[in-house]
């Protein structure tokens, strides 16, 4: 169908455009600052490969875990009438809005008594790679639930009911109707979660610290580099993160038109 043709609005003339231009200029200036220093010779060694390996592995594990838990939970939320939903969604929204350091602190402190201490005894989260995954998972899972829930809510239950009427099994309905229709939203959830996990700093540093080659990510490595005055290294690492964020934005635009 043809899109409705809408006339142009009246308000928001030159002052608004000027403000927008100033904002864009500011953001460009920040990028230019990074680029200028990244071009200078590095003061120390870069270890980019090991930082990237931990970052990518941690973000990938956290995203997969968040999808495994978050997508079924979102399906349940989207298909459940109001009973008790408000309390649950408020709880689920909390980690996205909460300061990441507070999230990390909550993880660290809950590992001191059962059942957390059993987990710490078995797997070992503090200052270890599983801690990176746990921290990023916790920050990211609510994002997955929210995005996926919106995607599932956009699927008309009548389509599932019609397939049932035609004799389809539940598994077939899930795989052939619900999931394909929710796919753009689910992909967006995965991409957003990965981007957020990749750049996560507060919770990761709180739980897993910065052990080179084990728990040091690009984001935490960047902080260390800046603190130790290795400005060119810091600029390069920051540019790596900018490139990753850019890639995610372009991917999102390709998947859903606009990021959520």
């Amino acid at each position: 169908m043809r899109r409705a043709i809408v006339p142009a609005g009246v308000v928001g003339g030159r002052p608004a455009a000027t403000t927008a231009a100033l904002l864009v200029a500011y953001l460009l200036l920040l990028l230019v600052g990074l680029g200028r220093l990244a071009a200078t010779p590095a003061e120390g060694s870069l270890h980019l490969a090991s930082l990237l390996a931990v970052s990518l592995a941690g973000a990938a594990c956290a995203t997969l875990l968040a999808l495994a838990v978050g997508v079924p939970a979102a399906l349940w939320l989207a298909r459940t009438p109001r009973v008790g939903r408000r309390v649950i969604t408020t709880l689920l929204d909390l980690p996205t809005l909460l300061s990441p350091v507070a999230v990390g602190t909550a993880i660290v402190l809950s590992l001191r008594a059962p059942p957390g201490s059993w987990l710490e005894g078995g797997v070992g989260l503090l200052f270890a790679f599983p801690g990176v995954v746990a921290a990023q998972f916790t920050v990211v899972v609510a994002l997955v639930v929210r995005t996926a829930e919106a995607a599932f809510a956009g699927v008309d239950p009548r389509l599932e009911r019609l397939a049932e009427l035609h004799g389809a099994s539940r598994a077939r309905i899930l795989w052939r109707v619900t999931l394909p229709l929710a796919r753009p939203g689910l992909l967006a959830a995965a991409v957003l979660a990965f981007a957020r996990a990749l750049g996560e700093f507060g919770a990761t540093v709180t739980v897993a610290g910065t052990l080179p080659g084990r728990t040091e990510t690009v984001a935490t490595g960047l902080y260390i580099a800046l603190e130790s005055g290795q400005l060119a290294v810091a600029a390069r690492l920051a540019l790596v993160l900018v490139a990753a964020a850019m890639a995610v934005l372009l991917l999102l635009r390709w998947v859903v038109g606009r990021p959520t």
């Binding site: 008309d156 009911r161 049932e164 009427l165 035609h166 004799g167 394909p180």
Partner: protein
Amino acid sequence: MIRTPAPSRVSPLLAATRLEVRLPGFHLGPVELAVAAGEYLVLVGPSGVGKTVLLEALLGWHPLAAGSVVLDGRPLAALRPGARGIAYVPQDLGLLPHLGVAENLRWGVTCRGARPDGPLLARLTEVLDLGPLVGRRSVRTLSRGEQQRVALGRALLTRPRLLLLDEPCAALDPHRRREFQRLLRGLHRESGLTAVHITHDREEAFLLGDRIGVLLDGRLRQLATPRTLYDRPADPAVAAFLAPENLWEGRVVGEVVGGGWRVRLVDFPLELVVEGSSPTGEGCLVGIRPEEVMLLHPNRPLRPQVAANVVAATVAELLLLDGRVEVTLVAAGAPLLHVRLPVCAADDLHLAPGSPVRASLKPRSLFLLAVDGVADGAAVAAADGAVEAAR
């Protein structure tokens, strides 16, 4: 004395008994409904009256507050959805936007892991003119009319014993609408399709329905053949929905020798002779469809068949609509009668605002209604006789 039901009576394909649906801010029913095999039943009512909910309650998609739905003698709940042989085309069609036209068409069949019936597919492709569409990669780029045909084809390809249709023509342009209505009618005629079709369009209901149910305020007020509905609306609400133009309060003042009643109107100094069944009580409503009023040349002698109920009046307003003329007549100083007649008839009568005219209200065209509310029994009785009427 207890009588066993007569064995000749055919049990309906689908029957709803005292069906009620209660949702927050919404109440439907009780509704009695029976659909015979091979019947095309149309339910008509204003938007927001709960037509879709009723249809989906027949599918078991909404919990019933009371009553039951029986399919072919067995309670609906006892049958797996896939084993019911019901197909449904919802108002937004329920096509899968991520599949192509051919896959959507087969979807109803592939759902149960079957393959489409080749000859039937070929025939539907021809009848629904799907040939040019089958190659399309996405149903989203089809026009609304094309999507409608794909959705109908998908439903029919499952060889349903019963097809439910929710406003299948509402989203179409007026000129496409009639085309699609004729298509549905043809399918019903040729293949003996059993269908329940809901619409807010009275014309569509009359065009398609073997029987028509009138749904008002969440109740099925009348379920009858189009002709009965046209001649004898069951109660004031149905009359106000189907023929609101000429409805007058009156009182029955006597019986006419040879059948019929004399009714004196309350607001006009007029007495009319009305055929039909006796009203309960004295107060009543008298009505006539604007198409049924005959206008006569003021100075031509009256033929015997139009002798009764001749009213002298003046033309107050004359509207040329698309294909007919609507005339408002004034009698005794008050706007009284709305008349609808073909343009050529109005031309022949040389009608113009202010011109005098005589209107003849044939006793058999008038209908007589009791005003003291509708007994629940009316709808129930209508539904009881339903299956027999449909034979």
